[in-house]
Amino acid sequence: MATGLPIRSASLGAGSPCIRPRANHGTGGSLTEHQPVFEVADGSVAFGGNQALDSVSFAMEKGQLVGLIGPNGSGKTTLLNATSGIYPLDSGSIRFEGRPIEKAPPHEIARAGVARTFQIARIFPRMTALENMLTPGFTARDGATEDRVTLIRRAKEHLDFVDIADFAHEQAADLSGGQRMLLQFARALMLKPRLMLLDEPFGGIHPLLVERILGRIRDLRRQGIDFIVVSHDLPAIMGLATRIVVLANGRLIADGTPDAVREDAGVIEAYLGG
């Protein structure tokens, strides 16, 4: 099993210009009932003349699993990229546990507890799976949180958690697409995240592996990790999410429970009429 509720505090020190430590952060329990764990306000991003994200706002409370859906080019991945700092917002703000992160670089956002996976797994091909897992240890060392032995033990636990422990010493380049996805997922857990952003975690992988990932996401939610999941796999995401946010042409067009969104005329229009 993976380690329990992720608690990480040491690396959020004074070295970070954009992510300011709060008096009592890190456990989720310190959040008040009304304070959103994640909040984007008026988020906009343009690529040339293309408004990829157009004044998107929503807030997410602790314990939610937000499914982010929408047609191709609707801005889902752009929103994840802005949240993880890869392509910052042109305007608007993003807060994680109350702290503004819209100007922070990706590595600081990752260290602050927001982990990210990609549609095409961004693993390190010429390292073994275990070495991939240990790469975040570099940052753990900055916070002086764990020694090498603990890191290796935790890495193996996480590999076991996603059932790829047998491949720990395989070169990552030799893993299948689904295994790479699982490796990327397990590697993100090494950061002890409190919020995970998953981009198409079920894309192009075997249905049995989809079931496995769904199961693991449910396990992690019970440990207190929140999720924003981008997916085209509507049956999977509708069954998993507590809340669905729909984007189309960079705008938020619907936001509600899976059942409510399923009935929403605007969503049907965006998917079928767009």
Binding site: I86, H107, A121, R122, F124, P125, R126, M127, D142, M190
Partner: protein, 303 residues
Amino acid sequence: MDYYVLSQIVNGLIFGLIYALIALGLTVVFSIMRVVNFSHGEFYMLGGYTLYALTAGGAALFSLPFVVPTIVALPLAMAVVAMFGVAVERGLLRPVYTVRMDRPEEYAIILTFGLSLFLQYGALTTVGPYEMTPGSFWEGSKHILGDLWLAGDRLFAAGTSALLIAATLFFIYGTWTGRALMATAQNRVGATVVGVDPVRMNVIAMALAGLLAGAAGSLLAPVFLVYPDVGQIPVIKAFVIIVLGGMGSIPGAVVAALILGVVESLASVYISVAYRDVFAFLVLIGVLLFRPHGLFGQKERRA
């Protein structure tokens, strides 16, 4: 075996070790920043001039009452060039990388090309075209065995290079920072989202490149002297080496450097010494024709 041939092979390996120092810095910078650093040869030159200034030069030009022992001047020269590398990253390359633009590497490459010319002509106008002789590391010829004698400076250069190569390999493969460097080289975005600061990796890569090129320039300075375009030929060979070894491959760079050193030496004996610097290019053409991804390189296969 004929001692003459043996001495050529040994000399080839000695040069191979120095070439490896130059090529390692170049390949690390290329791996991390995707920049082919055309000013790398001038890093080498700066190492030689710094060694000269600290040893013979200070006394000759400014009548300083003391000279720094050459062996002490070596780490100082390395540190100076490493700091120069960091300054180049901070002042010239980082501005390019922090603006959101397509293919920043291409602008960065042009910048390093300009820097190369600037430094060469800068050296020409400030210290002149003269060959300068820094202090020696280990004077005289040393008897190895039979009729095999080697210059002390070459032996010192080889030994120090071997130590520095070993230290570099340990740094890259044996430390957390090295792992972060490798991760950045293999997937830059993937590395940042697990918490690796890419700007810091750029700085480390440029510092390492400066350190190693500065060492190579200093170590060969007593053998080949120092002049403004002293770095030109070595850096071209380093380019050949990283293509032969496989772009971005660290072990490839070391092995290819040793191969090139020996090939050059033997070809000088059996073909003609006049063409010594041409053989590298024959090797380059051969590699590009028959094994374009190099000895240790990966065919394009990115995750």
